[in-house]
């Protein structure tokens, strides 16, 4: 009997005991009709070949292990960044259960979001009644200051019209006429979660700036010196947005962070559950119209929002998830240029410290080959930093990246001697990446939790940066933006390299001559 009250064995060790191993063997042999060992081995080896890779890349219809989620997830991400705002997803309820679970697993925080719970009858007759009842219930029960409505694929396929539905709901008294209900259509079969972020962000701005769906006059822009900031969909939003605020404050810049979800996903454990915490104040969203300029930290998350803002007369600046020295320099210089405020001594010193750290450590990274996957902007930012460190981002893959992104990546590779032989893969998935890692191996892999299967299959150590990170805790509390954030990324990369070196040199009397204590 393997179990013991004094030393309780859970799944990590319980199933390695002989009783269980014997049970598994019997199950397999007698009942599973298993594939013969040699056949299994043959196919396994075949999947590592160039021939398999070609077949794999020839695939036209099937997607395996994609590195992207659907629009509505990004919609919820954007919506929770506003003061006392509850996201309301018009469509079937199961989707909302998924978004809430997904965010909770990443942030280890509750995520509040409601659904209009559409079922068969709504599929036939439309979801108007669900909207009317739903808005009334949400308004009464959760006492929000704003309800941000977005859709699922179901509501989109049947063609529900959010503008008309919300109007009717208001007429029926679900929420007061003047209550803010911005909306965005976010079909799951268009784009990805970053598209959903973009649509909701634009929807919220349009609502406040363009007369609240025809119920009020449009706002007139009176330019001021403030700078707006959009973070984009970002798994490090808690650490990053706080870092960005610190940077703005360090330079004494007047700013509005639009969609600040850094507090709602980092509430304290102190005996009280805060359904809402922090968030951009609604009056600040309205006033953001008057800002001098808007900086988007992620171009591909704001493809519609930025041009919309530009039509209002603001200057817009799109960055690509800046990580590293040059990218952060550019970010700060843009803030400085737009605000007329100099870059602070504090930040200048931080810059020097980052350069110092790179000088101390880049020898360990120089010439190392990396594969990266994730959202298009994240991939760009990390690849640029790696080039700066003298590393080679050989495979850079974004399932939700497009042709324009791939071309931009290529220009980045072409700008550096370390970019030679590097390639961007737009629209490909992690099963494509598996083939690449076998046929053109690299030293390290950077990406989200799902990469642990690639790490195991191909022996490429995974450095966890991206979304979602389910199997490591609290990474989202650390910034990856700014000089300080770049320092975190540098340390995570170095940790992986040193751990790898130790793992490869720890065999006593065989390889441990390099098992050094000083590196």
């Amino acid at each position: 009997m393997p179990q013991n009250a004094d030393n309780v064995l859970d799944h990590f060790n319980l199933f390695r005991q002989p009783e269980y191993r014997e049970m598994f063997e019997n199950k397999k042999k007698n009942f599973e009709n298993p594939v013969a060992d040699n056949e299994l081995e043959r196919v396994r080896e075949w999947t590592k070949t160039e021939e398999y890779k070609e077949k794999n890349f020839a695939r036209e219809a099937l997607t395996v292990n994609p590195a992207k989620a659907c629009q509505p997830l990004g919609a919820v991400f954007a919506a929770v960044g506003f003061e006392s705002t509850i996201p309301f997803v018009h469509g079937s309820q199961g989707c909302v259960a998924y978004y809430r679970s997904h965010f909770s697993r990443h942030f280890k925080e509750p995520t509040s979001c409601v659904s209009s719970s559409m079922t068969e009858d709504a599929a036939v007759f439309g979801g108007l009644n669900n909207m009317i009842d739903g808005l009334a219930n949400t308004y009464n029960m959760y006492k929000p200051k704003m309800i941000s409505v977005s859709t699922t694929c179901m509501a989109e396929v049947i063609g529900d019209d959010l503008n008309a539905f919300i109007k009717t709901s208001k007429e029926k008294g679900s929420v007061p006429q003047e209550f803010d209900v911005p909306f965005a259509h976010t079909p799951a079969f268009v784009g990805s979660h970053i598209t959903g972020y973009d649509n909701v962000m634009k929807g919220v701005l349009e609502h406040f700036w363009d007369g609240k769906a025809g119920t009020e006059p449009k706002l007139e822009r009176t330019p001021n010196n403030s700078i707006n900031f959009l973070g984009g969909f970002d798994g490090y939003t808690v650490g990053n947005l706080r870092e960005v605020k610190r940077i703005f404050e360090s330079m004494g810049v007047e700013y509005t962070l639009i969609g600040d979800n850094s507090d709602v996903w980092d509430t304290p454990t102190d005996g009280e559950f805060r359904m809402y915490d922090g968030g951009t104040k609604l009056e600040d969203v309205a006033n953001a119209l008057h800002a001098k300029a808007t900086i988007s930290m992620q171009e591909y998350c704001t493809e519609k929002t930025l041009p919309y803002i530009a039509t209002k007369g603001q200057e817009v600046v799109a960055l690509n998830h800046p990580v590293g020295v040059a990218a952060t320099d550019k970010f700060l210089m843009e803030i400085s240029r737009l605000s007329g405020k100099p870059i602070s001594e504090e930040l200048t010193k931080e810059r020097g410290r980052l350069v110092d750290a790179i000088a101390d450590s880049s020898a360990h990274i120089h010439g190392k080959k990396f594969a990266i996957y994730g959202d298009p902007d994240l991939c760009y930012g990390l690849a640029a930093f790696l080039l700066e460190l003298g590393a080679e981002p050989i495979h850079v893959l974004a399932t939700n990246g497009g042709k324009g992104w791939a071309e931009k990546m290529q220009r980045l590779f072409d700008s550096s001697p370390f970019g030679k032989g590097c390639k961007a893969y737009a629209g490909k998935d992690l099963w494509h990446m598996r083939s690449l890692l076998f046929t053109e191996p690299v030293d390290y892999l950077i990406g989200n939790t799902y990469g642990k299967y690639l790490d195991r299959d191909t022996g490429t150590p995974l450095i966890r940066i991206g979304f979602p990170i389910f199997d490591r805790h609290h990474k989202h509390r650390y910034p990856v933006w700014g000089y300080q954030g770049s320092m975190n990324v540098l340390v995570w990369i170095l940790d992986a390299i040193f751990e790898d070196i130790d793992r490869n040199t720890n065999v006593v009397a065989k390889s441990d001559y390099s098992f050094d204590i000083i590196r």
């Binding site: 679970s101 739903g134 509430t267």
Partner: protein
């Protein structure tokens, strides 16, 4: 008045009544009227728990429920490890359900086993406009090409499939023929069907009936039948639950010829109609197929509960009662063998847990099944409810709950928070969406869907882990830190 202060059952019942009235006040009248039917207090001697169930959730409230797709793909079909399950439709559903349910299995992932992978048709706008059948046919071809050792394919329909009228059945039939009888199963589990994941279980069961059983009739059986052949039905092997259950059945002399669906294979599904008895753990999700096998193949089924020694003993004897003395003696032998372990576990943990109050809110069987395990540790379940239970679940619950237990069906986030706030239990057992809400409030919590990434919890080996985990949750030093010493 908290439970601790409520002195008599009558007090508790009055308190519950007051509490229900209080939460209903927050709703508009129409909603309050509808929600009132789902909230109540168990009255001893009643045939059910006095609440309505399996009814549509109310729009705009934070229901914890999922959808039919989650019930089929996430629960019933997904754990069948040697098949490839296509999340057919847009990318999200497959992404959010990717490897998140801890259905442990042994196999070479990506080669002959596919349990922790996400296969999707990643529907784009053009697929919605022109239909996705041709794409599906091509996907099946590509799967054959790239994953030649797969033993079958299931097509798990997401919302748009039913709405745009794709004929996934025709594609599946044609491809089955083309690939010489390969099992290819269309499952109509679109998320908008039904009121929760529950309908997805039923649809998935029906798909097994129609597309696995009916089509495998006449195929030769792969093993010599024995009088002691049983199938484990409705165990999803969360954290290895089905394994810590299977070992007991085998130790008592039974032969487990199939495991559904955790660590399951298509061969085991096909073999099940040859079993002598189906032992059913999750009644809610797999009673349908068990009843079908009883009607069509004459295989009896019996429910069992492997949480905590009291229920395990009861269940082992109940299962043994379907067999001869050899098995009955086997059950007694197993009970006797593990008793010292159980005594030791209880001796260690009961003193730390005695008298602690628990509120549960889980899926289809745990709101009742785990009550016995808590009671074995001297704990008391003071409130419970189902995400997607039906009336027959609430009838079965009467055997488990005490007079005066607060019952909440399809509880909303708001109601659950208020109930916990007022009753102040020592532990809440529910899911990931609820976990952090209650932890913020300073209330110890365990995820009772995923075992909080621990487990197994089934069987004797599992109970030791269950006891340890409940102790670590309740007695973790962190809960004493929730309020700052200077806070009022």
């Amino acid at each position: 008045m908290s439970v601790a202060q409520a002195e008599s059952i009558e007090d508790i019942k009055a308190r519950n009544k007051e509490l229900v009235q209080e939460v209903l006040k927050a709703y508009p009248e129409k909603t309050a009227k509808r929600r009132a039917k789902h909230l109540g207090t168990f009255e001893d001697g009643k045939p059910d728990c006095g609440v309505k169930s399996n009814i549509k959730s109310i729009p705009g409230v934070m229901t914890i429920r999922g959808c039919a797709y989650a019930g089929s793909k996430g629960v019933v079909w997904g754990p069948i490890k040697d098949m490839i399950h296509i999340s057919h439709g847009p990318v999200g559903c497959g992404q959010y359900s990717w490897a998140s349910r801890r259905n442990y299995y042994i196999g070479t992932t990506g080669i002959d086993t596919f349990g922790t992978m996400q296969f999707t048709s990643d529907f784009q706008e053009k697929d919605i406009v022109f239909g996705g059948d041709k794409k599906l046919a091509k996907i099946i071809d590509e799967i054959q090409d790239l994953f030649p050792l797969n033993k079958g394919i299931s097509v798990q329909s997401e919302c748009p499939i039913g709405l745009i009228g794709d004929d996934i059945e025709a594609v599946s039939k044609a491809k089955t023929k083309e690939y010489e009888g390969k099992t290819i199963v269309p499952v109509r589990c679109e998320g908008f069907r039904g009121v929760s994941q529950s309908l997805g279980h039923h649809i998935a069961n029906d798909a097994i009936r129609d597309w696995v059983f009916d089509k495998s009739e006449g195929k030769p059986i792969r093993f010599e039948p024995s009088p002691y052949d049983v199938a484990i039905i409705g165990d999803y092997n969360i954290g290895g639950d089905a394994w810590s259950s299977r070992i007991l059945l085998e130790e008592m002399g039974l032969r487990v010829v199939a495991q559904w669906s955790g660590d399951g294979t298509i061969a085991e599904l096909e073999a099940t109609p040859k079993a002598k008895l189906n032992v059913l753990h999750c009644y809610r999700s797999m009673n349908y197929i068990s009843r079908h096998m009883e009607e069509k193949y004459g295989i009896p089924w019996c429910e069992y509960n492997f949480f905590g020694p009291s229920k395990i003993e009861e269940s082992l004897r109940k299962i043994a009662s379907h067999f001869d003395d050899k098995i009955k003696e086997g059950a007694e032998r197993v009970i006797a063998k593990y008793r010292p372990l159980m005594d030791a576990v209880i001796a260690k943990y009961r003193p730390r847990l005695e008298g602690k109050k628990v509120m549960l809110y889980v899926g289809g069987l745990r709101p009742r099944h785990v009550i016995g395990a808590y009671e074995d540790l001297g704990m008391e379940v003071v409130g419970t409810g189902y995400e997607f239970g039906h009336n027959d679940d609430y009838q079965r619950t009467t055997h488990y709950v005490k007079d005066g237990t607060l019952i909440y069906d399809d509880v909303t986030g708001y109601e659950f928070e208020k109930f916990v706030e007022k009753i102040q239990p020592d532990l809440v057992g529910s899911g990931i969406k609820e976990k952090y809400v209650f932890q913020k409030m300073g209330v110890p919590f365990r995820q009772m869907h995923s075992w909080d990434y621990s487990g197994p919890y089934h069987g004797y080996d599992g109970f030791a882990i269950f006891a340890r985990d409940m102790d670590m949750a309740i007695n973790a030093p962190v809960w004493k830190m929730a309020r700052a010493p200077w806070a009022a």
